[in-house]
Symmetry: C2
Subunit: 238 residues, 2 copies
C-alpha cells in the first residue's frame, strides 16, 4: 500500500517540531496524560510498566521510524512509561492535528491503524515468547527479531547490529533475572550462535540461530504502507 503525495504532504504538516531527549531520563510517565505523540528519528527507547513490588516489564523497544506514545494519545492516558536508552531525536505530533489529518487523508487513518496492528503483532509475539518459550530460545528469538526490525531501517544486517541495551534491559524485556540473562548469552555464544558483547550483536551462524529460535520473520513487513518510513525520511522541519 502506497500513500499518495497528498497523504505525505498531510503527514508532513503533522510534524510541527523536533525534540531531543537525553539517555536515561524518563520521557513519559505512567498515568500522565499528554496530548502529543512522537516518531523516533534516531536513538533507542523502551516503553515499560512498573509494578508495585518494584519489578518492571519492558513492553517493547522503539527504534528509528517507530511511533512512540500513539496509544496514550488515543486513550488520553499513558498506560506506560518511556525511557530513552540512548540520546533520542524525535518528531512531535499533536492530537488535534492528527484528527484533522484523518479528515484530509483517510488512507492515513488506515496507515496508522496498520502501524498499530504491527505494534500489536510484535507485542503478541513477545507475549508468546514469555509465556511459552524457554529462556534461551526466547533470547535468540528476541535478538533475531530486533535484527529484522533494524534491517528495515538500514541499521543492521544478517551479520549483526549495534545494540545499546544492557543485560538489565534484556532481563526486564524477557521476564528474566539479569543473572540468568548473562548465563543465556554465554550459552548462545558458546554454541556459536550469537555473540552480544560491547554493545554489538554478532550473528555467528544466522541460519542455525533462526532454526534454534524457531524464528519466523515476516510478520514485521507485510504489505507495509510506509507510514513511519515517510516520517523517518522527512526533511528537516523549519
Amino acid at each position: 500500500m502506497e500513500l499518495s503525495d497528498a497523504d505525505r504532504s498531510t503527514l508532513g504538516c503533522l510534524v510541527k517540531r523536533r525534540r531531543t531527549f537525553v539517555a536515561g531520563r524518563d520521557l513519559v510517565l505512567q498515568g500522565r496524560s499528554d496530548h502529543v505523540a512522537y516518531i523516533v528519528l534516531s536513538g533507542w527507547a523502551c516503553s515499560y510498566k512498573l509494578l508495585p513490588n518494584g519489578r518492571r516489564q519492558i513492553v517493547d523497544f522503539q527504534i528509528p521510524g517507530d511511533f512512540l506514545g500513539l496509544r496514550s494519545l488515543m486513550l488520553h492516558l499513558s498506560d506506560q512509561s518511556v525511557e530513552p536508552i540512548t540520546d533520542l531525536l524525535v518528531a512531535e505530533i499533536r492530537y488535534t492535528d492528527l484528527l484533522d489529518a484523518f479528515r484530509q487523508a483517510p488512507r492515513l487513518a488506515t496507515g496508522i491503524l496498520w502501524s498499530a496492528a504491527r505494534d500489536h503483532a510484535m507485542v503478541v509475539e513477545h507475549l508468546v515468547g514469555i509465556g511459552r518459550r524457554e529462556a534461551n530460545v526466547r533470547m535468540a528469538h528476541f535478538l533475531l527479531e530486533t535484527g529484522d526490525r533494524l534491517s528495515l531501517v538500514k541499521n543492521g544486517t544478517k551479520a549483526g547490529y549495534a545494540c545499546p541495551l544492557t543485560q538489565y534491559h534484556l532481563a526486564d524485556a524477557l521476564g528474566l533475572s539479569s543473572v540468568h540473562v548473562n548465563r543465556v548469552l554465554r550459552l548462545l555464544r558458546e554454541e556459536g550462535l550469537v555473540t552480544f558483547r560491547d554493545g554489538l550483536v554478532t550473528f555467528d551462524d544466522y541460519d542455525r540461530l533462526v532454526e534454534y529460535a524457531e524464528f519466523e520473520g515476516g510478520y514485521l513487513d507485510q504489505d507495509r504502507p510506509h507510514v513511519e518510513l515517510a516520517f523517518s525520511k522527512w526533511p528537516a522541519v523549519s
Copy 2:
C-alpha cells in the same frame, strides 16, 4: 467521546450479516488471509498462537462487544488463530466497507483506533503479568480483569460471573501448566479470595482479592467511545 447519529448509521451499514460458530471448532486459522472481521454479539472466544513444539499461548479472550480479527484485516494476514469457546454469535464486517466508512465518518476511525488501543492495553497488562507476576497473583489478576470486562457488558458483578473456561484455557492464557493452574485455584479458594467451580467465578472477598492481585482497574473504560457498545446494541440485521 460520543459518536454522532450519522456515525452510528454508517456503523450500522457495516454489518451486512450475522453468523454463528459452534464451540470448539476453529474460526480463523494462523496464516490464513481473510477479508472480514467480526464483532462478538454473544458467547466467548479466544485468540491464540501455536508454537512449532505444540504448545499454545492464548493472547486474549473475546467476550460480547469485542472486535475479532480486526488486525488481520489491517495486516491482510491473520497472525493468530481463534477458537470459539462457547457457541458464538457474531456480526460480520468487510474490509472495503470499513475503508468507505472511514471516509464517511472520520470519528469512526478514531473510535476504532481507540478500540485497538484498548486491546493493546489489555495485551500489555497480560504481558506484564506473565513476565513479572508469580502464578497466584497472575491468576487473581486475570479473574478480576475478566470480571471487570464482563461488568461493562452487564455479564458480571463484584459478586462473580459465569465463566466457560476450562483449566486448560487458563493454563494456556497464563503461561502455566494445567496442573499448576489447579493448585493455584485451590490456594486462592482456601485463602477465601475467589472460588472457580462449575463454570462459575465467585469473588469470596473482592476487596482483599484486589489488594492481593495488586489490581488496578480503570485502564479498560477510559473515556470510552462506545464503538463496540454501539455494535452490541445494534438491532437485528435483515
